[in-house]
């Protein structure tokens, strides 16, 4: 690992697009300011690590783990009507073994989780948090 010493208000460059500035030093806490193109995601590493370990754990789930979820399904069949996005071949449901079949994207209900335009908090512009 490359180790550089910097004082307050000094900056290092990573490539020619990413700037990291030491904004403040208090005790054992360093505040960093990061300037980077918005296409470059900037996150605290703990966030990545926790998602990675959660993925790891989720990959161990078995079919039996899902037993007992029946009664929580949306009450009326109407709410489960598919919202077809690309009809045609995607809607065919081949018969498959084990009571599990190919699912169709876009059909998980009438009110899917919305996606909104906007910066993901924690992107470069505001990553200099605590």
């Amino acid at each position: 690992m490359l180790v550089l010493s910097r004082q307050r208000d000094e900056t290092i460059m990573i490539g020619d697009e990413i700037e990291i500035t030491v904004v403040d030093i208090r005790g054992d806490k360093v505040r960093l300011g990061i300037n980077a193109p918005s296409r470059i995601a900037v996150h605290r590493k703990e966030v990545y690590d926790s998602i990675r370990s959660e993925n790891q754990r989720a990959s161990q789930i078995s079919r039996d783990d899902l037993s007992g979820i029946g009664p929580v399904m949306p009450a009326t069949p109407a709410t489960m009507l598919p919202t077809p996005i690309s009809p045609g071949p995607l809607r065919d449901k081949p018969v498959v073994r084990a009571q599990v079949g190919p699912a169709t994207l876009g059909r998980t209900g009438t009110s899917p989780t919305p996606i909104r335009r906007g910066p993901i908090s924690g992107s470069a512009g505001e990553a200099a948090g605590s």
Binding site: A41, H43, V47, Q56, G68, I69, G70, V96, V100, I120
Partner: protein, 150 residues
């Protein structure tokens, strides 16, 4: 194509249903091709099954079933990367985990898929409001399972 799985045997998946996650899921970067399987009873949980590794599968759901005020922010660069021209072309899943008697969803790391191209990515949200273990629902005890099979 035939997809071998350890949980469901061999499943036949049309080539045009393969979902591509070019960056893989965090921690599973080597696996980029998946298919979506659903239980026969039209549940709100699906399996995101690796096409490449029979034992690799995740339970996923649309979190909006359980967390109505959840939404996923997307930057223009991310939309471009996934080829998402209209936000209605994208679909959000979260990976489900089982913690004791609770099913939880990883709302901090949603998987966003362009439903037209079936290309997706696991996002990393920094909003502290959403965690990797957001409670979705409590699993029911035995009586309810009996009711199901009745």
């Amino acid at each position: 194509m035939e997809v071998r799985t350890t949980r469901f045997g061999t499943v036949n998946i049309a080539d045009d249903r393969i979902i591509h996650l070019p960056k893989g899921l965090l921690g599973f970067g080597g696996f980029t091709r998946f298919c979506l399987l659903e239980p026969a009873d039209d549940a709100c949980f699906f399996w995101l099954q690796s096409v490449e590794e029979p034992s690799l599968a995740f339970v996923v759901t649309d979190p909006n079933f359980f967390v109505p005020d959840y939404s996923v922010p997307i930057r223009q660069e991310q939309a471009d990367e996934l080829g998402i021209k209209s936000l209605s072309d994208a679909q959000v899943f979260v990976i489900v985990n089982k913690v004791d008697n609770l099913l939880t969803g990883n709302l901090q790391g949603p998987v966003v898929i362009n439903t037209l191209t079936r290309t997706g990515e696991q996002f990393v949200l920094a909003e502290k409001r959403w965690t990797t273990r957001h409670p979705l629902l409590k699993l029911n005890a035995a009586p309810n399972q009996q009711a199901m099979s009745a």
